[in-house]
Amino acid sequence: MDNQRNIIMAVVLCGLMLLGWELAMSQFYPQPATVGQAQREDVPADRALLADGDGGAAPAIHTREGGLSDPADIARERADIGTLLADGARVPIDAPRIAGSINPVGARIDDIVLKTHRETVDDDSGPIRIFSPAGTPAQQFAQFGWVADAGGGNIRVPDARTRWQASGGPLAVDSPVTLRWNNGQGQLFTITLSIDRYYMITAQQTVANTGGGAVALQPFATLNRTDRTASVDTWTIHSGPIGAFGDGVQFGPDYDDLAEARRASGEGRAHWIGFTDIYWLGALIPQDGASPEADFRSLGNNIFRADVIYEPVVIQSGQQVTRTTRLFAGAKESAVLDVYEDAGVEKFGLAIDWGWFRWFEKPIFWLLRLLYDLVGNFGVAIILLTVIIRGLMFPIAQKGFASMAAMKAIQPKMKALQERYKDDKQKQQQEIMALYKSEGVNPLAGCLPMLLQIPVFFALYKVLILAIEMRHKPFVLWIQDLSAPDPATILNLFGLLPFTPPSFLAIGVLAVLLGFTMWLTFRLNPAMTDPVQQQLFNIMPWVLMFVMAPFAAGLLLYWTTSNILTLAQQKYLYSKHPQLRAQAEKDREDKLREKESPATGAARDKGKSKA
């Protein structure tokens, strides 16, 4: 059936063009080796302060989800975390979604794990760590402070080594923590931290001037991280510096470009600024109404910083001034981001890189969530989604079959026309068109139905890998994470053999099912007249098996289900139009016979015109 084939081909092409490209790019242009990191000193804090030349560390391999990939780094991170977090002066954080601690040295929030998101798909893997102290391999932290303004006298301000006095705590909902430091010159600095139910920490930075004269200070907040833990940055999904400036969200620059440019910013007022991974976001939200300087910097050694630096404030003797900055440190859960956006954080919902295609992705996302809430299994939800989409497309298929049946009725006239104008293809085409018109049939579905399938497929592709709601969601049996590639790679006998096949050979069971079901659907179609095209159709399923294998298991599940539904639909429609089935079978036999002995082609033609 032409229409069916069109749709499949459309999806095939869509897959090849949009997705195969990405595969090819990562194959031929692997992530450039990142510059080595700080030399390995024994004290992590000292390592962080070393901002000189490149160490000899192995270049980071960026994984899909991000995080450290080098075993040495992972071991060192674990050891560092153990020693650093043992410091008894740390103030614990214990909120519903966030755990961790505040470092009173430097007033840094440098220890955050997310309680509701696991590190790996294993049930007993710990919560995912997104903030890690300075000098650790997975460094990421936020720091609040002040810069002494040149014109405001030479006053002492707190720095990275300042030890603050903490009171209150642990930091929890409705239980703020206050850090205090007196510079001994009459200025009292306080930072009051509070946290909400999700991922937002509010920092109120106050300077009280009890000295004799006025002082001028610039409050700031910075976010500092390494790019070694960044998730892979692809052309459809940005991982790296991100911010909302002026009217839009800026997904960029990339870490590499920033490392080269040293400094980058956005246009217009900064609503928020930070760094994003595919699932995690650290962002600073400046005080409402303030117009701080907000930019990204590269500090070398794979370390990057996002700064919010307020305009200088002059504090008269006996006065105090407060700046309130919010820090988002958490998972990009769409609903949570929307809550913050509704509460006034501009464009926060767009921190998820939906792209310009979000008008199509959001409904798919919404529908998937709805189905998931109904059935409680994302795999089943994806299957139901497929059924719904195919259901919507069913009338088109039915119409196509009805047209085919009508075509069959005018077959003799067709044949006659083809005979009469067999030397003039142009004329033949026109006459056939005229015949269609006079008989009121057209077997061809047109291009719109297949064009419509492309955005659905692309939207699902993006939703599956982008939405954290799909992360670590199991289906059945061995498929524990529908947003990741099928882990059951056949080449190493499902992990029994002790090697990891190269990524382009890592074909999972789902990919084979996809190839096989597609081959079945292609087989159902009438044989193509053009042998080159026929060849293409024969190899297409197996090519796609390789191309699609590295993609999210959920996407393969969708496609495989779609193929099975195509087969079922075909069976049903043939049962309603038995004469078409007879025709299809005859065509197939003819084709086979022709293959065996081309000489009998003429005899077959004679037989056909009688049919």
Partner: protein, 69 residues
């Protein structure tokens, strides 16, 4: 702009369209129609005409000979 759009339609014709099974309900084909419309009416009106044509290109749309007006 106009040239870029025509190029796009040409690329479609020599690329994906070759591989796809014939699906045109109309003569001339949508891509040919787009090229002619763009040439005759320019980028904006031409694109609009081409879009309208594609929107008609489904089982309930028309078919047959349908040249650029």
């Amino acid at each position: 702009m106009k040239q870029a759009l025509i190029l796009l339609a040409r690329l479609w014709q020599i690329g994906p369209s070759r591989v796809l099974p014939p699906s045109c309900r109309f003569a001339p084909s949508c891509s040919q129609y787009a090229i002619e419309a763009l040439g005759k009416y320019g980028a904006i009106k031409g694109s609009w005409l081409a879009t309208k044509r594609i929107m008609r290109c489904h089982p309930w749309g028309g078919h047959g000979y349908d040249p650029v007006p």
